[in-house]
Amino acid sequence: MALSWRRTGRFGVAELFALLGLASFLAARFLPVLELGLVCPFRAATGLPCASCGMTHAFVHLARGEVVAALAASPLGAVLAAGAWALSLADLARAALGLPVPVLPERSLVAAARLAVFAVAVNWAWLLWRGAA
C-alpha cells in the first residue's frame, strides 16, 4: 500500500499538534524553563533518571542551536524536538496552502509505533548507563 492523501478542513487535530510543536519551540527558546528548578519525581525517589529525563534540556539546547549539548542531554529528546518542529512547520505550511494531508499506510504506522517504543527503551537504557558510568 502506498502513501495516500486526504482532504481536510484548514484547522484540525494535525494543526493543533503543529501549534503545540511551535509553542514548545518558543517556550524552549525564550522562556527560562531551566531556571524553574523542576525536579523529576522518579529521579528524586530512586536517584535514577526516568525515560524522559533530559528532554527539557534537549529542547532548550536545540532551540538555541546547541546540537551537541542537546544530543548529550537526551538523544531521543533532541530527535523528538527536531522532528516535532520540522513537522509543525511542514503542517502549518500545508494548511496555509490548503494542500491535502498525507496518510501513511497502516503497515508503516505500525512499524513507526514499534520503532518509537524501541527508541524510548534504548534512550532510557543509555540514560541509565550514563548515570551509572
Binding site: M1, G12, V13, L16, F17, L20, F42, T46, L48, C50, A51, E106, L109, V110, A112, A113, R114, A116, V117, V120, A121, W124, L128
Partner: protein
C-alpha cells in the same frame, strides 16, 4: 474507485462492486452497484415500527448537540453516558467531532483542576495559620510575625493559585493530546487502531469525565480515584471505538504505565542484586 467501510469507516481502493472484505478491519462490506436495477419497492413501514438504526458515520454525543440541547444539559447527559455507561456510549459514537470532544475534555479537566487548586490553597492557608501560631508560642516568636518567610509563603501561594487557575485549560488540552498520542502509539504497536487517531482522541477526550471526581472535597484521594476511573474509561472506550478486543485495549492503555513500573522495579532491583552479589 474509493470505498468506505461501514464498520471501521476507513477508505480503501477497489475495482469491483459486491461483497468483499475490508483490508483494514476484515469485516464484510457490501458495495452496491449503481448501474444495477433498483430492487422492488418495499411496502412502506410505519415510522413507529421501524428499528432505530444508527447513522452510517455513528451517533453524535449529546455534547455535540449543545446548541440545540443547551450547554449544561448536553454536558450533563454526555458526562452521565461517558462515565456511567461507557461501553454503550462509545460503541456507536461518531468519531469525527474532535472539536466537541476536546472542548468536553478540557472543560471537565479544568473544572476538576480548579477545585483541586482551591482545596490546595485552603490547605496552604491553614498550614500558614498553624505556622503563625507556632511562631507566637515561641520565645520572641512574635518578632517573626511579619517575617519574610510568611510574606513569601503568602505571595508564593497567591501567585501559584492564579498561575494554576490560568494554566489549567492549557494543561488539560496538552494532557489530552499527549495521552491520546501515547495510547495511539501503544495501540498501533499492538495493531489495534483500525479506525485511526480520531477514534483514540474521541475516547481520551470523553473519558476525561472520570476526572470530574477529582473535584470532590477529598484532596489527593479524589484525584487518585478520578485518574483510575479515567484509565478504566479509556480502556473500555478504546475497545468499543477502535473495535478491538478488550484485552488488547487494556494492554494498550496500561502498557505505558506497565513499562514505567517494570523499569522502576528493574532499576531498583539491579543495584540491590549487585550489592547482594558482593556479599
Amino acid at each position: 474507485m474509493l470505498a468506505r467501510c461501514a464498520h471501521c469507516q476507513n477508505t480503501f481502493e477497489t475495482d469491483r462492486f459486491g461483497v468483499q472484505a475490508c483490508p483494514h478491519c476484515g469485516q464484510q462490506v457490501h458495495l452496491a452497484d449503481p448501474s444495477a436495477p433498483p430492487p422492488p419497492a418495499a411496502p412502506p413501514v410505519p415510522p413507529a415500527a421501524s428499528p432505530a438504526s444508527p447513522p452510517a458515520d455513528g451517533v453524535p454525543a449529546p455534547f455535540v448537540r449543545r446548541s440545540e440541547l443547551g450547554f449544561f444539559h448536553a454536558y450533563v447527559e454526555t458526562w452521565k453516558l461517558a462515565a456511567l455507561r461507557p461501553a454503550e456510549f462509545f460503541r456507536p459514537l461518531r468519531i469525527s467531532d474532535t472539536g466537541s470532544t476536546l472542548l468536553f475534555g478540557v472543560a471537565t479537566m479544568t473544572v476538576a483542576s480548579w477545585f483541586q487548586t482551591l482545596y490546595g490553597a485552603l490547605m496552604g492557608a491553614a498550614a500558614r495559620n498553624v505556622l503563625e501560631q507556632m511562631l507566637r508560642q515561641m520565645p520572641r516568636g512574635a518578632e517573626f510575625g511579619n517575617a519574610w518567610i510568611l510574606k513569601w509563603t503568602s505571595t508564593g501561594t497567591a501567585f501559584g493559585v492564579v498561575a494554576q487557575l490560568v494554566a489549567a485549560p492549557f494543561l488539560a488540552l496538552l494532557g489530552i493530546l499527549v495521552f491520546a498520542g501515547i495510547f495511539h502509539v501503544a495501540l498501533l504497536a499492538l495493531r489495534g487502531a483500525p479506525r485511526g487517531f480520531d477514534a483514540t482522541l474521541t475516547v481520551v477526550g470523553y473519558a476525561a469525565a472520570g476526572h470530574l471526581i477529582g473535584a470532590a472535597p477529598v484532596p489527593g484521594l479524589a484525584s487518585l480515584v478520578g485518574s483510575v476511573w479515567w484509565l478504566a474509561l479509556v480502556a473500555v472506550g478504546l475497545a468499543e471505538t477502535q473495535r478491538v478486543p478488550q484485552g488488547k485495549a487494556w494492554t494498550a492503555t496500561l502498557l505505558p504505565f506497565a513499562l514505567i513500573c517494570l523499569c522502576c522495579c528493574g532499576a531498583i532491583a539491579i543495584p540491590i542484586l549487585a550489592a547482594l552479589g558482593r556479599h
